[in-house]
């Protein structure tokens, strides 16, 4: 009755850069060919994901790739509901997880898959692993979370921006500040926001690191200056694209890509 979601199943086409569904996928999907590339950037709140992604996009476009972005809780179907529910404090671990899964599925089917079908590079600002990490910290059954996300397509490349809580705290405080949810205040882990943030993020980072080894993420040290992180990201992405897309990179394009990686 319960399926084993972590046994990946192959899709039909050979032009898929070895794309696999995480579980049963979407059986009703008619278009199986996904020539694009799916790159997920994972990492906790305040680690610098969005700044890094903002720098990746123009670079990839200059390299001649069509790029599409997608981010957690940005689906037109769910984002209002999620914000409202967060404001109302009536969520349980289960409803929270299912809302995120619905948001994810909506973006998967309306943004990610169409872009991949059209040959785009899709950069996902967080992917299902964020749900895996959070749900473990919130105390949901990890097996259940993974089953629910069985509809997901596995990314071609997952880059994890790693940080420690000590480095993270000043960044978040100086940035947008500590938020109720990102501090895990709903879990009542601490008596004050700061303590709660510290404990929640510590758990979360531990869990991300565990997932990184389980799923073979590429880990980039996000404590480095922003430009150094960007250079590392680009070299990993370029390395992936070279192996995934050899025909394309055999062209005169080759030299150009090397120089522009170094430029920024």
């Amino acid at each position: 009755m319960i399926m084993t979601a972590n046994v990946p199943k192959e899709t039909m086409s050979e032009h898929n850069h070895a794309k696999k569904w995480y579980g049963h996928g979407l059986p009703y999907l008619s278009e199986k060919r996904l020539p694009g590339h799916l790159i997920a950037i994972e990492g906790t709140d305040g680690v610098g994901r969005s700044s890094q992604i903002a720098l990746l996009r123009p670079w990839l476009e200059l390299e001649g790739y069509a790029v599409s972005n997608t981010g957690w809780t940005r689906s037109p179907l769910l984002s209002e509901t999620i914000n409202e529910a967060k404001a109302g404090h009536q969520l349980t671990v289960t409803t929270f997880s299912l809302l995120y899964a619905a948001d994810f599925a909506d973006r998967l089917e309306h943004e990610i898959l169409p872009a991949l079908q059209a040959g785009f590079i899709v950069i996902a600002d967080r992917y299902m692993y964020t749900a895996f990490a959070r749900n473990v910290v919130m105390g949901a059954d990890p097996r259940w979370t993974r089953d629910v996300f069985g509809v997901a397509l596995q990314p071609n490349l997952v880059i994890y921006l790693d940080i420690d809580v000590e480095t993270l705290i000043p960044r978040v405080v100086q940035g947008k500040g500590m938020d109720h949810w990102e501090s895990g205040m709903h879990l009542m882990l601490g008596t004050n926001l700061f303590e709660s943030f510290q404990r929640y993020q510590t758990h979360l980072i531990e869990e991300y690191r565990r997932l990184a080894s389980e799923f073979g993420f590429i880990t980039v040290d996000a404590r480095q200056p922003i430009d150094d992180v960007q250079t590392e990201l680009r070299s990993h992405i370029m390395q992936y694209l070279r192996t995934a897309d050899p025909a394309r990179n055999a062209a005169p394009h080759e030299e150009k890509s090397d120089t522009s990686v170094e430029e920024e």
């Binding site: 009755m1 319960i2 399926m3 979601a5 579980g23 049963h24 996928g25 979407l26 059986p27 009703y28 037109p76 179907l77 769910l78 209002e80 509901t81 409202e84 529910a85 009536q90 349980t92 289960t94 409803t95 299912l98 809302l99 899964a101 619905a102 599925a105 909506d106 089917e109 309306h110 059954d141 259940w144 089953d147 629910v148 069985g150 509809v151």
Partner: protein, 208 residues
């Protein structure tokens, strides 16, 4: 409704809960339906959110307080309907694995033509999703309804074996259906309930 009144009249504490009635996802659901944004997967997940929300706030507390909960549709509706829309049967069962198994599940079965007749007698036209128009089976709502609901019925028939649902033939007269309905509820649920209550165990503290 009739059963609820009957149980109440006999002094049983009853709570009634209905499929797709929680406020939590109402906005997404109506937005999704109106703008036709729902896919089989998001349709399924939104209903699961609704169910999980009602399970926590409307179903579990009364059960823990020793009451009877009457649910108009349960996870089995998703197992039949969402699978007819195209989601994987194992996936939707896994999504609902947090659901409590009911003590008794009754399945009111009617042939397609009768349900079509009844629905159209009550209102002007079929709803887009109940006719399965989103699945793209036919441009004609009545025809689409027939094809889609036949699939749903087929899956329900399988579920009756998988989960031991008790089938009630819903083609007949309502008083006759009620008589059977009450008899089964009496035998399967109330019998045990009364015995426990007689022993003074009317408050069930542990969820089952």
């Amino acid at each position: 409704m009739l059963l609820e009144r009957w149980l109440r009249a006999r002094g049983y504490p009853v709570i009634f809960t209905e499929w797709n009635s929680s406020r939590l996802v109402r906005r997404s659901m109506s937005r999704g339906k109106k703008k036709n944004l729902l896919t089989p997967t998001t349709f399924s997940l939104l209903h699961a959110v609704d169910f999980a929300d009602r399970l926590t706030y409307q179903i579990m507390p009364p059960l823990q307080a020793g009451m009877l909960v009457l649910a108009d549709r349960y996870a089995f509706t998703a197992f039949a309907r969402d699978v007819a829309r195209g989601v994987h049967p194992e996936w939707v069962r896994a999504v609902y694995s947090f659901a409590l198994r009911p003590d008794l599940t009754l399945y009111f079965r009617v042939p397609i033509e009768i349900s079509l007749e009844r629905l159209l007698a009550g209102r002007a036209k079929l709803k887009y999703h109940e006719a399965g128009m989103d699945v793209g089976l036919s441009a004609d709502p009545a025809q689409s309804f027939r094809i889609f609901q036949s699939r749903v019925l087929e899956f329900y028939d399988k579920l009756t074996r998988e989960f031991e649902l008790r089938t009630i033939d819903a083609t007949g007269e309502i008083p006759e259906q009620q008589r059977m309905f009450r008899q089964i509820v009496q035998d399967v649920v109330l019998h045990d309930y009364d015995r426990e209550r007689a022993k003074g165990n009317h408050v069930r503290t542990q969820p089952r």
